[in-house]
Symmetry: C2
Subunit: 127 residues, 2 copies
C-alpha cells in the first residue's frame, strides 16, 4: 500500500473534521478555505487512491459522488428519492430483521448487504 501523501492527509482531515459525507468539490473548497493550495484534479486523484485503499467510502446521490470515512456504523436507511441516509440504531446481527423498519415511517423496498474490497485481478493490478 502506498504511503499516504500530503494531499491525502488533508482530505482525510477534512472528512474527520466535518464529520459528514462531502462531495469532491466540497472537499476541494474546504481544503482551500483552510489555506492549503490544491487543485481539483489532485483532490479527485487522491480520493480515488483513498478509495482503493479502503479508507473512504463512496456513494452517489443525484449524480454526484459523496465521500465519507469508512466508519463502524454501516447500517443505514437510504431514501431512493432524496438520497437522505439515516443511521439505523441496530447492530449487524440484528439488521437481518431490518425490514421490520416498516413501522418507522420509512417504506422499505429492498435491502442490500454488500461487501467492498478488491477482487483478485485488481489486487495484482494495484500493488
Amino acid at each position: 500500500m502506498k504511503t499516504p501523501n500530503h494531499s491525502q492527509a488533508n482530505i482525510l482531515k477534512v472528512l474527520e473534521q466535518t464529520k459528514k459525507p462531502l462531495s469532491a468539490q466540497e472537499i476541494w473548497a474546504e481544503i482551500q478555505k483552510q489555506g492549503q493550495k490544491i487543485g481539483v484534479a489532485t483532490v479527485y486523484r487522491n480520493l480515488e487512491s483513498l478509495k482503493i485503499k479502503g479508507l473512504i467510502q463512496i456513494r452517489t446521490v443525484h449524480n454526484q459522488a459523496i465521500y465519507s470515512l469508512v466508519s463502524e456504523k454501516q447500517n443505514f436507511a437510504t431514501c431512493l428519492q432524496c438520497g437522505e441516509r439515516t443511521p439505523l440504531g441496530i447492530s449487524l446481527a440484528q439488521s437481518v430483521e431490518a425490514p421490520t423498519l416498516q413501522s418507522q415511517a420509512f417504506e422499505v423496498y429492498y435491502h442490500t448487504l454488500e461487501v467492498f474490497g478488491l477482487c483478485s485481478p485488481c489486487q495484482e493490478r494495484s500493488p
Copy 2:
C-alpha cells in the same frame, strides 16, 4: 403508485431479457434495436420513476449509473477498483459472516447492509 406505462414496460422487458445490469444508454440502444421508437430523455425519466417505485436498483460504476431489476439475490462482493460485482452464494442470515470471504481471493475492506426505500417526507412528496 402510478400505473406502469409503455416506456416503463419496455425498460423492464429489456432488463429481464438481458438478465444483466445496463446503463441508461445501453437500455436506450436496446429498445431502439427492438424497433421501438423512444428518446433518451424518456428512458432517463422512466428509469427514475421505476427507481422510486422500488422496481429497479441503481449503482454507480465509473461515473455511470447501472440499472438492474430488484432481485432476490442481494449479496455481492463489489470490487472498489473495477466495479465488478460477483454474487455471494450465501443467505442474508449467513452473510453477517461475510468478512470470512477473505479466503476467496477477494480482499474485504468493509461491508454494508443497506435498506432502500422512501423516507416519510418523500412518501408524501410522490403519491
